[in-house]
C-alpha cells in the first residue's frame, strides 16, 4: 500500500523517492541534471553517495579518489548554476586536508608502537552518525505516508464556535513580530499621508474628475485618512470649483453631491 501511495505523489513542493538512489547522473537536459544534483541533503549525503557509488568500504575510504569525485561534483554544480552551500565547500576543504595528511610520511621519530590515528576517523564517525539519521528520516517518511491513508472526521457544528488557533510559543512570537511590522507600516503611511500638500491634493482631484468626468464628493472625502487630509481635501474641492471648469451638482436636496467637469466650453 505504501507503494501505491508513493505512486500518487503530488507535484507540489519538492518530492523525492527514497527507494531510488539519489543521483544517477544520466543523459538528459541540464534542468534534469540540476534537479538531481540539488537533491543531496548536504555534503555528508553527497559523500555517502560517492562512497557507495565507488562500492568502497566506509571504514576504509579511498580518500584521494572520493575527494576527486567530490570536487568534480561541486564543479558541476557550480557550472549548472546550482547555489553551492558553503557547507559543501567546507567539506571539500576537509577532504583535501585529510588527503594530504594521508600522503605525509610517518614521523620517523614517533615511537614504533604508537598507534597512529587514522586521519579519516573523525569523518567516518560523522558519516556513520549522519547515516543513522538519514535512515531515520526515511522511516519518518514512511510513517507519514501510511498516516496519510487515515482520515479524520469532517467539520461538525461544535467546531464552528472554535475556529481558533492551537497556539504555540512560535505563534506568539510570529504574531508579535507581525504586529510590530504592521505598526511600523502604519507609522510610515501616516507620515506619507501627512505630507500631501494642498497643491498635490488639487492636482489629484483634478485628474480624477477629468478621468471619470464626475466624482462623488462624499466618496472622495471618505478616502481621506486623517482629519488634516480631510480639511485639505475640502479646501481643494472649494478651490477647484472656483478656478477650474468644474461644477458642483446636487440632483436633489440632500442627495449626492457630484463634482462634474464642464465639457461644452462654457468655462474659461
Amino acid at each position: 500500500m505504501i507503494q501505491t501511495l508513493m505512486e500518487q505523489e503530488p507535484l507540489e513542493q519538492f518530492t523525492f523517492d527514497f527507494h531510488k538512489e539519489t543521483a544517477e547522473i544520466s543523459a538528459g537536459s541540464n534542468d534534469e541534471l540540476k534537479l538531481k544534483l540539488g537533491e543531496f541533503a548536504g555534503p555528508l549525503d553527497l559523500l555517502l553517495f560517492l562512497i557507495r557509488q565507488e562500492q568502497a568500504n566506509i571504514f576504509d575510504i579511498p580518500v584521494a579518489k572520493i575527494t576527486d569525485e567530490y570536487v568534480k561534483y561541486i564543479r558541476l554544480m557550480k557550472r549548472l548554476d546550482i547555489a553551492v552551500a558553503a557547507d559543501f565547500l567546507v567539506m571539500a576543504a576537509t577532504l583535501i586536508e585529510i588527503k594530504s595528511r594521508m600522503l605525509l610520511p610517518r614521523d620517523p621519530l614517533a615511537p614504533e608502537d604508537e598507534e597512529l590515528e587514522d586521519p579519516r576517523k573523525d569523518l567516518v564517525d560523522r558519516l556513520l552518525e549522519y547515516e543513522k539519521f538519514k535512515v531515520a528520516a526515511q522511516m519518518l517518511h514512511e510513517k507519514t505516508t501510511v498516516e496519510q491513508a487515515v482520515f479524520q472526521r469532517g467539520k461538525i457544528e461544535s467546531d464552528e464556535a472554535n475556529a481558533e488557533i492551537n497556539a504555540s510559543v512560535f505563534d506568539i512570537i510570529t504574531v508579535f513580530q507581525k504586529i510590530l511590522l504592521r505598526h511600523r507600516d502604519e507609522i510610515k503611511m501616516e507620515i506619507a499621508r501627512e505630507e500631501i500638500s494642498l497643491s498635490d491634493m488639487i492636482k489629484n482631484l483634478k485628474r480624477r474628475i477629468f478621468e471619470e468626468t464626475e466624482l462623488n464628493v462624499l466618496a472622495f472625502f471618505e478616502e481621506m485618512h486623517s482629519k488634516r487630509e480631510l480639511v485639505t481635501a475640502f479646501i481643494a474641492v472649494l478651490e477647484i470649483v472656483r478656478t477650474e471648469s468644474v461644477k458642483l451638482v446636487q440632483k436633489k436636496t440632500f442627495g449626492e453631491i457630484i463634482l462634474k467637469a464642464v465639457t461644452n466650453g462654457t468655462g474659461n
Partner: protein, 199 residues
C-alpha cells in the same frame, strides 16, 4: 426517516439525574458516552480528560474505550478507534483510503523535503536540541528546514540552552505525533537500530 431513537423502554431507570453520579452508569452507557466525546473532540482526547469530565475512574474509561474498539472491529466498521499522541481518536480505516480520497478529492499532502525530514529526524531523536547541534550532525545549515517545521507545527521551542550564546532548543510537538501516527515518542524505533540498515 428521522430515527429519533424513542426512549420509551424506560424499564431500567439507568442514570439520568444529574450528570456525574457515576455509579448509576452502566458499562454500555459509558461506552456510548465515551464514543460521543471522542467524536466531538477536535483532537485526540486522553483517558485522563475523559475520566475527569465524566467523573469516572480511569480504569472504567480504559475499559469502555477498549470495549468500543472491539465493537468497531467486530462490526467491520469503516472507522476505527485508535490511540494517537497520547489520546483517543476516531478515524477512517486505512484500507478505505482510496475511496475517501476520491470523495474528498485530495491528494496526499505535500511531502516534506529531504532536508526537512532529516532535520526532523535529528530533532525527534536528540531533543531538546539546538541549531548548532543539528548542524553538527547533518553537516549543513538547517535554518530554512527548521522554519518550515515550526510553521507546520511539527516542532516547538524548548527554551534556551544554558551555554554560550544561549541558543534556542527545539523538540517535537503533539502535531508531530499526530501526523506521523505515533502514540508517543517511545514508539519511535531506537536510533541505534538504524546503524546497519544503511550499509
Amino acid at each position: 426517516m428521522e430515527p429519533e431513537t424513542e426512549t420509551v423502554t424506560e424499564i431500567e431507570p439507568v442514570a439520568e439525574t444529574e450528570v456525574e453520579d457515576k455509579a448509576a452508569r452502566g458499562m454500555a452507557e459509558l461506552v456510548a458516552i465515551v464514543e460521543a466525546l471522542i467524536f466531538v473532540a477536535d483532537e485526540p482526547i486522553t483517558t485522563k480528560l475523559l475520566a475527569e469530565v465524566l467523573g469516572e475512574d480511569r480504569d472504567a474509561v480504559e475499559a469502555a474505550v477498549s470495549e468500543l474498539q472491539k465493537e468497531y472491529e467486530s462490526r467491520e466498521s469503516g472507522l476505527q478507534i485508535r490511540e494517537i499522541a497520547g489520546g483517543w481518536q476516531i478515524a477512517t480505516r486505512t484500507e478505505l483510503h482510496e475511496e475517501v480520497r476520491k470523495f474528498l478529492k485530495t491528494r496526499p499532502s505535500a511531502k516534506l523535503s529531504l532536508a526537512s525530514l532529516e532535520t526532523l529526524a535529528v530533532i525527534a531523536y536528540k531533543q531538546p536540541v539546538t541549531v548548532p547541534e543539528i548542524l553538527e550532525i547533518r553537516g549543513v545549515q538547517s535554518a530554512s528546514a527548521i522554519k518550515t517545521l515550526l510553521e507546520k507545527r511539527l516542532i516547538v521551542t524548548k527554551g534556551h540552552k544554558e551555554t554560550v550564546g544561549r541558543p534556542m532548543q527545539y523538540g517535537t510537538s503533539k502535531e508531530f505525533l499526530i501526523q506521523f501516527g505515533l502514540k508517543d515518542l517511545t514508539e519511535l524505533p531506537s536510533i541505534e537500530d538504524f546503524e546497519d540498515l544503511a550499509g
